[in-house]
Symmetry: C2
Subunit: 201 residues, 2 copies
């Protein structure tokens, strides 16, 4: 068996397993695919990996990925520094921006509290978040996901920040726009009932 599989192929298959969700079988399939059908794509991927790892750091203000010390959004004078929206991932920030209804700043946790995976307050840089809020006093809007872990993260952060006298709110839960009662899951409906808002005449 020795020497039958080229050693650089073996090495590539092992290296591909650093990608999340890629086991031995898919790593092999990927390596074969690249070697046989997409060598140009593989070269491009190698260069993109090198370039991204060399150039992408975290923004010192919002913790989002950035090629600058302070990202374009944090550097913009058009944003309202009195509002700080906390999201889990960069993709959440992009979603929020797409709504075009928020003009404040962000803090990207790059994760959520997940004790089983060893991700706690330290890994998510809660200290930097608290320092940021203390320095420029602002209102914090928690926009973590409405999952068990997102809820726990929001709860922890709310307790932490309120103990410092910071005004904290959380984005609303309820029926989606255009949603019908018949279609929605009962958990969401129950929550919408609990969090009902007074109708102002």
């Amino acid at each position: 068996m020795i020497g039958m599989m080229p050693s650089h192929l073996d090495e590539l298959i092992t290296a591909l397993r650093c990608l999340p969700g890629v086991g031995p079988k898919s790593a092999q399939r990927m390596a074969y695919h690249l070697l046989q059908r997409d060598r140009a794509g593989a070269q491009h991927l190698a260069q993109s990996l090198e370039r991204a790892m060399a150039s992408i750091k975290h923004c010192s203000k919002c913790n989002n990925f950035s090629e600058q010390e302070v990202c374009a959004l944090c550097a913009s004078p058009k944003r309202d520094a009195g509002l700080l929206c906390v999201v889990e991932m960069p993709a959440d920030l992009l979603m929020m921006e797409q709504t075009q209804c928020y003009r404040g700043m962000y803090f990207v946790l790059m994760g959520r509290l997940s004790p089983l995976d060893g991700i706690g307050a330290r890994e998510l840089h809660f200290d930097r978040l608290v320092k940021r809020v203390q320095e420029h006093s602002c209102e914090v809007i928690l926009a973590t996901n409405f999952t068990v872990e997102g809820d726990a993260t929001a709860h922890y952060l709310a307790t932490l920040l309120q103990s410092q006298g910071v005004k904290v709110s959380r984005i609303a839960r309820g029926l989606p726009v255009g949603g019908e009662l018949e279609q929605v899951d009962s958990g969401t409906l129950a929550q919408a009932m609990l969090e009902r808002r007074e109708v102002l005449a």
Copy 2:
């Protein structure tokens, strides 16, 4: 929105989509994972891709991946040049070698006939296989998979090679070793019945 996502991050997410089975969402997840948790793995992957693409070619005899013009297996004087086993993929060759019951040569198709994907006789280098068989007259054993496409490939190859006067056989279908009639699927059982062998006293 412009300038909010670092351009090298965008580029990396696009580049990751050259991997089979990776769509926009998983590409994003992979990029975030590498940037946040496994920068060393990403560097190693980049180098492995470069090295593999630069060094791995196809063996001129068996068409398997190889770093030499002729791979170690084809170059070995211990193999029986009178037998040529045709398999679909390098992984199939490895499985066959693990049985330690075959000492002949191989030809790796690197695929199977699949007209819908544009993979025909030309893409699988059937001409090189025929030339090889004509040059050193040998018996051909077809060991493509017992799938619809593998069966079609075997049928096509058998017709092609037999028209050249080559002796062609196919590996047997039937119950697995240790298999029980009650457990096996009816297709396999029917095939085992059809392909029954005379018991020699």
